[in-house]
C-alpha cells in the first residue's frame, strides 16, 4: 500500500469531510406536516457548521409552538443535516440536537 492508497482509506473511514450543511425542519401546510429545508434543495449548501447551527437556532426560536400544538407557521423538529442528508451532531454538545422537538407520528 502506498501513501495515496493509505490516505484514501483514511479519508473514507475517518473524519469524513462534508461538502456542506442544510437545515431540515417540519411545518404544517394545509393541515399536513411537511418536511422543508433551508437553503432549499435547489440552492447551494452552507459551508459553515457554526453559522448553520446558529441559523437553525434562530429559526427555531422565531417560530416556537407550545407542544403538542403545531400552529400554521411553526417550525418544528429543526436540525442540521449534511450533504448526504445525514443528521449532524451539534458541535456545542457533540450530540444529535433537534430544536422544537415534537413527535409528529402521533
Amino acid at each position: 500500500m502506498n501513501t495515496k492508497q493509505a490516505y484514501k482509506i483514511i479519508d473514507a473511514g475517518w473524519a469524513k469531510k462534508r461538502t456542506g450543511y442544510r437545515i431540515q425542519f417540519q411545518r404544517r401546510v394545509e393541515g399536513k406536516i411537511v418536511t422543508d429545508y433551508f437553503p432549499d434543495l435547489d440552492d447551494g449548501l452552507w459551508l459553515s457548521e457554526v453559522a448553520i447551527w446558529r441559523m437553525a437556532w434562530r429559526l427555531a426560536e422565531s417560530r416556537q409552538s407550545d407542544p403538542p400544538d403545531i400552529n400554521a407557521g411553526d417550525l418544528i423538529n429543526v436540525t442540521v443535516i449534511d450533504h448526504e442528508g445525514n443528521p449532524v451532531k451539534y458541535y456545542a454538545t457533540n450530540h444529535f440536537e433537534v430544536f422544537n422537538p415534537i413527535d409528529t407520528e402521533i
Binding site: 475517518w14 469524513k16 469531510k17 462534508r18 459553515s48 453559522a51 458541535y91 454538545t93
Partner: protein, 273 residues
C-alpha cells in the same frame, strides 16, 4: 508707448476678425470636456454591469477618454482655421512619441505591486484597492474605512498582495496543561480541521507540538484555506475546538505560574501557622 497702442490696435483688429470664432471654439472645447467627463461617468456605471475586471474597465475607459479628447482638440483646431493635415500630423507625432517614451522608460518607472480590485496589506492596512492615481491609492478596509495611502509610502513599504495567492495557511495555537491528554487533544484538533468543508484537503491539516513552555504545552494546528474565508474559518474552528475540548474534559491552559513550596523554603509565617 506708441508700440503698446499699436499692439492694442492689432489685438482689436484680430478680435474683430476672429473673436467670434475663438469664443465659439472655447465654448465648444469646454462643452466637449464636460461631455467627455459625462460619458466617462456613464461608462463607469455601465462597466459595473459588464462582467469585466475593474482594472480592465478603467483601461478601456481611459483609452476612450484620450481618443475623445484628441478628437475634440482636433475639431476645435480645425474650426479655428488650422489645416487638418498639420493637426493630424502633430497628433500622430505626439502619440508615437508618447508610446516610444513609455516603452523606453517603463522599466524605470516604479509601478505599484497591485491592481484595482486586489486585496492587499500595505504597512498596517489591510483592504481592497478601489482606485489608484499618480499620487495615491484608495483602499477600502474591511471595517468600511476608505483610506488614501500615498504611493511613495506604498513603494517604500512591504506590500502583501493576496490576489497572487488565493489560498493561505492558517494556524490555530492551542495551549493545554501538562497533565492533559496530549494525543487526545491532537486528535480533536486534526479531526475538526479535516471535517470542515472549507479547509483544503491538500496540503493536509496537521498538528504540531510547538513547544513545552512554562506551565503549558503549545499545540499548533495548521491547514490551508481560501484567503477570503481564512478569517471566519479560523474563528469558527477555535470556537469548535474550545467546545470539543470542554466536552472531552481537556483543560486549556491560561497564562499562569506555579510556585512550589517545600519544607525547606516554606515561609516561616506559614509553617508556624
Amino acid at each position: 508707448m506708441e508700440g503698446f497702442s499699436v499692439k492694442i490696435a492689432q489685438i482689436e483688429s484680430t478680435m474683430s476678425l476672429y473673436g467670434r470664432e475663438w469664443v465659439i471654439a472655447f465654448a465648444a472645447f469646454v462643452f466637449g470636456l464636460i461631455l467627455i467627463k459625462w460619458i466617462n461617468k456613464g461608462l463607469k456605471r455601465a462597466g459595473t454591469k459588464v462582467p469585466i475586471s475593474p482594472a480592465k474597465g478603467a483601461t478601456i475607459r481611459n483609452v476612450i477618454t484620450v481618443l475623445m479628447a484628441a478628437l475634440l482638440i482636433t475639431s476645435v483646431a480645425i474650426y479655428l482655421g488650422v489645416a487638418p493635415r498639420p493637426v493630424m500630423r502633430f497628433l500622430i507625432i505626439l502619440t508615437l512619441a508618447a508610446i516610444g517614451m513609455i516603452m523606453v522608460f517603463r522599466p524605470l518607472i516604479p509601478t505599484l505591486p497591485f491592481k484595482v480590485g486586489n486585496t492587499i496589506m500595505a504597512g498596517d492596512l489591510l483592504g481592497k484597492v478601489e482606485a489608484t492615481s499618480l499620487l495615491n491609492t484608495r483602499l477600502k478596509t474591511f471595517d468600511g474605512k476608505t483610506v488614501f495611502v500615498p504611493n511613495r509610502k506604498i513603494l517604500d513599504d512591504i506590500v502583501i498582495n493576496y490576489h497572487f495567492t488565493p489560498t493561505r495557511r492558517f494556524e490555530l495555537k492551542i495551549n493545554i496543561l501538562y497533565d492533559q491528554d496530549l494525543m487526545k487533544a491532537k486528535q480533536i484538533l486534526e479531526t475538526i480541521m479535516v471535517e470542515d468543508p472549507r479547509v483544503h484537503p491538500t496540503p493536509r491539516p496537521i498538528v504540531y507540538l510547538m513547544s513545552l513552555n512554562k506551565g503549558y504545552v503549545e499545540l499548533s494546528g495548521r491547514g490551508w484555506a481560501d484567503n477570503l474565508k481564512r478569517f471566519v474559518i479560523t474563528r469558527e474552528l477555535l470556537e469548535k475546538i474550545k467546545l470539543r475540548f470542554d466536552q472531552e474534559g481537556i483543560t486549556l491552559a491560561m497564562p499562569q505560574m506555579q510556585v512550589h513550596y517545600t519544607s525547606k523554603n516554606m515561609p516561616q509565617s506559614h509553617t508556624e501557622g
